[in-house]
Symmetry: none
Subunit: 214 residues, 4 copies
DNA sequence: GATGAATGAGATTTCATTCAT
DNA sequence: TATGAATGAAATCTCATTCAT
């Protein structure tokens, strides 16, 4: 399904490395390693050498596969967003009612956190200053689509009387959004809870609150 | 009330600059500027030069006031935590019932975000890897006290039947905690809402959920 | 007098180093050293470290004064061209007849070689691939003005019957131009000949040839 | 006729690749490509990758044919000089009078420029710093023979009264030499002029000057 | 003959920090 | 208090070269 900025990943028509041919498996493998280190230590604090160490090679060797440290980051985030939107678009085009949509989006989000934990953590920490850069344009594009999808869902819910109308809708949006995504900072796949289970509990709290109904 | 690590680690005894004498106002002013830049760009991405630029001086001149970039960070975070615990301790020693305690803690938190927005943002982004360092020991101390205060409150609430007992309590803890503190990433003081107002809405969502009760 | 691209040298309004304040004497001194090394070893083969060595400092220290190796090159060439055009413009606005103009331009050229030997040598070797870069735009601007000044002079001379009309004028232009400027590759100031003396002999050859008149 | 350093230094005996066997045609082809890139971008600025790109292969593959980037350069220049001296020696052994010798040498030079444009351009730019290296010894040998051939011719001409005696002979030598060889920097084979035509015009200028005889 | 992946040395650049003035 | 100049360590990146396949 359509994902943001149909760029097929490698726009680099310029003068440098081909950056397409080198075996995609090795590439993906290395990106996975890099993502883990970025998530763990932060993008800036991660030296190319650390990534190389983790991959069992020398720092310079990474440049056979990637143009730069930044382009690794770029590819990690882009891949994540592409898959995220695959999932989201599936939900959105299903035309569910607002509450079901919200539930599906939250569940899908936790699934993405499960599959792309590192990328999500990186996204959380770095996206704010990346959006300024032309190269990461697709981040703000995605952010806008994201906001639209959630806000619309909430608004529809309010209109249909299933979500409370006495709340500042943008505040509610941020509340739900953050609530879900920060989970990436503590979530460890293979831990006690499956993504679906966490989603269920989170939804329960978000929808019904933590206080006992009287 | 006692706050974590009462100033113990100032390292003054060594060979270097006095680092205390220079007018505390200028010091505070500079720390405020530094905090803004740190919050805006991230600690690692912030060069001493950028701070100096923002302060209208040269990079080297900052070293008259502070002995390192890290010690600025340290002082910013320590100051914030000190004040945070002043507030929290006031709440805790008031011996309110669980729901009132929760409300007071949340409200107090938004007030701190209002007053120390930059420091909170920095804390959110950087604390995870700082805790490893001996120098930032007080961060984990604070974190533990923090967790204890919130968890206890929630548990008491469950025991007293005011909070739902069907939730994973640690999940609920993280839910409330994150939900409140991420606000620092988008909150702009002087914006539409006062901290108290935001607190009220957040509490309403956290306690009662966003869905209409049937 | 007007020189090409009235850019007053430092266009850098961007985010980096001020690059204007640091004492201009030291700056000029360092540029002189750099120019010598560039001329001697070629721009690419010259490492920043070699320049720093020649200046008695560490490689990194150069970056206090200059943005990059390339910006040193740029400033060296720009300074040279600015002064060159000061001289040329003086000649051109004097409205001499074609032969006097040619003599004055050649003499002025040898004076510039004498004063900016290194810059001229660099210019000879590097300008061809630099013109492609946007940053060195002024090189091609200058080249065009240069070509126009010389070609016009030659054409006027042909029209007035003082220069031969049976020659391909562009070939003659290149002949004179190259003949003069390659001298920078072997010229050593303080050697046997003053610039004026060399100019006289070159003019004699260019104007009357090396063969004995019959 | 003998040319400088008859192939002596091939270093084959060492431990490495045979480096001679692989089809000489492919070899020559690749050297032609390499020469073009060297001429275009400068030796240092040319990466092995660029050459490989131009040849439609990968960088590593070049090492099947040559044992280093430098040995390509060496072979290009040696081949050129070998052929140059074939031509020059033919002229010199013909025992022409000074003026005819000069004309023949100039014409021969333009023919070499026509056939080895890239190599000549490389020679112009790089020879100065290559002569220092033991491996390129033959460059200075050639230079010396070259200087001797030309200077002798000029001196004979002066003695016989066909070249002017009032000129600094070394200056005249450099004048003629540079005049001819810089042409390689702008000459494009297949352009308007044949080498012989350019030679004729250049000789006309060098011998008789560009001014109209009175 | 050529590829793909890597090495390792070295280049440019960045930046926290120092220190004499 | 602040400046200007420098240091030195480390970071990113480049590139000739190697080598198993």
């Amino acid at each position: 399904m359509p994902n943001p900025k149909q760029q097929t990943s490698k726009s680099q028509t310029s003068k440098k490395k081909a950056q397409v041919s080198p075996s995609p498996e090795r590439r993906r493998e290395l990106l996975g390693i890099a993502a883990d280190v970025f998530a763990e230590q932060g993008y800036n604090a991660t030296t190319v050498r650390k990534i190389a160490d983790a991959a069992g090679m020398l720092a310079g060797s990474l440049y056979y596969h990637f143009d730069s440290k930044e382009s690794m980051l770029e590819e990690i985030l882009r891949t994540f967003l592409t898959e995220l939107w695959d999932g989201y678009d599936n939900v959105l085009k299903a035309q569910l009612d607002p509450r079901e949509t919200l539930e599906a989006l939250v569940t899908e989000s936790f699934r993405e956190i499960d599959r792309h934990r590192a990328a999500v953590a990186i996204y959380q920490k770095e996206s704010k200053h990346l959006v300024a850069q032309q190269r990461f344009q697709y981040l703000s594009d995605s952010q806008q689509r994201f906001e639209k999808a959630w806000l619309t869902t909430l608004e529809r819910g309010v209109a249909e009387g299933v979500f409370r109308g006495d709340l500042d809708i943008r505040l509610a949006y941020r509340f739900v959004r953050d609530t879900v995504w920060v989970a990436a900072s503590w979530y460890r796949p293979g831990g006690g809870h499956s993504p679906e289970e966490i989603a269920r509990q989170y939804l329960s709290m978000v929808l019904d609150g933590i206080s006992v109904r009287t």
